[in-house]
Symmetry: C2
Subunit: 369 residues, 2 copies
């Protein structure tokens, strides 16, 4: 690793920079004493599809991260991105040349935003190039692959973060904060669902070899991840059911899945996800109150209420906050709870594996952990 | 059977009375041409607990039904009810003397509001006495008992109705009407839950021999029944999970159960019920819209909204409407959809049996029908 960050740390300036860096939810740019911007995390985006574009746009407003490079298999996109985001030629890679990024000191991290089942291969490449990896969720197609990715990043001495943008999002954080403060009392039940009517039948999300799975992997993971951060527990068993009302369109991947998670304290979280209709809600109820968000998982504005009344948090661009937060984690060793590291992603993947297993076994209870 | 109703039918006046009788949701008293009240269903209440009292109070406003008798095992309640509801001595029975009701032409029907696992025995007694039976839900503790009750009432030539008060309730009926009219498009998913924190640990609801089961039987049945009337389909499979966070209080009956129903069209209904915390909601989503009610199953006022905006239906006393509607069914052969007959109750009981079976078998899918 030979990055500016490492260099500054070597000079003993890391701690000073850390103190000057923006805090996780700060909205104003951080400046050094001399008025120059504080060091930023220099990011390349791998995969220039619609979500990659959304992240690139959001990063324009980042104070601690900046888009400096791209990795793409679509040569026609290069001139567009170069001019739109001021990317120098030397920071442009494709899937054959990415290994050479090792010799590029001007890129700190790569955000992998490729089809889900390629995350494993691509994060391995990023680690091999000695760059920090930020990987979209789901982090992989199986828990086995997720573990490989963690191992590879640890071995390479780079960080691995998963794109759990809601862990930085104000409505979500407010609900978590209220739960942890005991404002809902003892948590008794969670009921989450998230799904949408998917369009273009030719897209990668419907191809098993690219997507790894269907609605569960892509959006059901929000319900699962939320069940874990709402309860602050890890599930000990899972049961699941599947239905396919359009077996032609969803020939290769799951359309609609319902699943239930049993937690050590006795909470059962009931969840549902689909690619075939629109619904979205987070719900947690305790002995003293409840929280409900709907929409709860999309790009916002989110909306919610508790037993105390409407939630009224700042409306932000999730990806801006996420990338600033992740820069703070990578550059300054900051931690965030709920976590966004590889182990967090692995926990979800283990449950996803178990959900598919339960479905195969006629909904039978699959024990975890 | 020798009731005024039978007598009038014999005279060929049944049809005429039917035309004069109040329609199901009419709020104004029906009068005969001569200005006298139309014939009313003369009801005895069996079981004078808190819900029996609620029904008695509600019947004061009925136009087609009247409370004329009681069946009770608590002698101390007799003078109170006699004076409060103007019950004549000859219409007062206990569980030993109820057989003698056969010779009383002034009672048409008995509303059985005793602990759930006694419904079977008591409806058999009502049928044996030649009276129409109205039975609180759940109609029995098992499907086997429910079938016995249907058979006994058919053999005795009396009607058997189950206390599905929401089938008469305006918010519920409005949602069903919108669904049937296609306003939500093709129905894709249902998510219902209903539960409450139960008080007195010594009450019959927590005793297996009186209650038959716990939250599932008592309040989970609302979610199940709603899933059936929202979809207008019968489930083909069921899966279920149980959790007990207070094994002392809920030593004999189920505390919290989550269950899933698979319908022929591919809809999965996800449901949850408990005796250990408060939550209550009905939710149905289709390709063109949704309906949500919360509260959805209590005594009202209920509250709800659809994709078109808030539901604003008349706020009524559910039990008044129910008893007038049931009088219309019994006296005039009126039908109501969703049904409130014994077969409707039996369908719920078959699913409840299957839910307990699935729990015993580690949540495995239990096929129905």
């Amino acid at each position: 690793m030979s990055t500016r960050r490492t260099f500054l740390h070597t000079l003993g300036l890391g701690a000073g920079l850390s103190a000057l860096a923006p805090t996780l939810l700060s909205a104003t740019p951080s400046k050094t004493a001399a008025g120059r911007p504080a060091q930023k995390l220099r990011v390349a985006i791998m995969g220039l599809g619609s979500y990659g574009t959304r992240v690139a746009e959001a990063m324009k407003s980042c104070t601690s991260a900046e888009l400096v490079g791209i990795v793409t298999g679509s040569p026609e996109k290069i001139p567009v991105w170069k001019s739109k985001y001021n990317i120098p030629d030397k920071n442009v890679y494709n899937y054959e040349t990415i290994g050479q990024m090792k010799n590029n000191p001007d890129i700190d991290a790569v955000y992998v935003i490729t089809p889900n089942s390629l995350h494993h291969k691509h994060v391995m490449q990023v680690a091999a190039a000695g760059k920090h990896a930020i990987c979209e969720k789901p982090m992989a197609d199986t828990a086995k692959h997720a573990q490989d990715m963690i191992d590879a990043c640890e071995k390479a001495g780079v960080k691995l973060l998963i794109g759990y943008r809601l862990h930085f999002e104000p409505y979500t954080r407010k609900v978590i904060e209220m739960l942890r403060a005991g404002e809902m009392g003892k948590i008794m039940h969670v009921d989450n669902y998230q799904g949408f009517k998917i369009g273009d039948p030719t897209q990668w999300r419907l191809k098993k070899n690219l997507a790894g799975g269907g609605a569960l992997m892509d959006v059901g993971i929000y319900c699962l991840n939320a069940a874990r951060y709402l309860t602050a527990e890890e599930p000990v068993w899972v049961t699941a059911q599947e239905t396919k009302t359009d077996p032609v369109k969803f020939a290769e991947v799951d359309e609609t899945i319902t699943f239930q998670l049993g937690f050590p304290s006795g909470i059962i979280a009931t969840c549902a996800t689909t690619y075939n209709f629109n619904f979205e809600r987070l719900y947690v109820v305790g002995t003293k109150g409840f929280a409900e968000m709907s929409p709860a998982y999309g790009y916002g504005p989110l909306k919610g209420r508790t037993h105390k009344g409407p939630l009224e948090e700042p409306v932000v661009t999730h990806q801006t906050l996420q990338m600033d937060g992740m820069a703070d984690i990578i550059l300054n060793g900051k931690t965030v709870t709920p976590a966004v590291d590889g182990y967090e992603g692995l926990k979800d993947m283990k449950v996803i594996d178990a959900i598919y297993k339960s479905i195969k076994e006629g909904s039978k209870k699959v024990m975890l952990g």
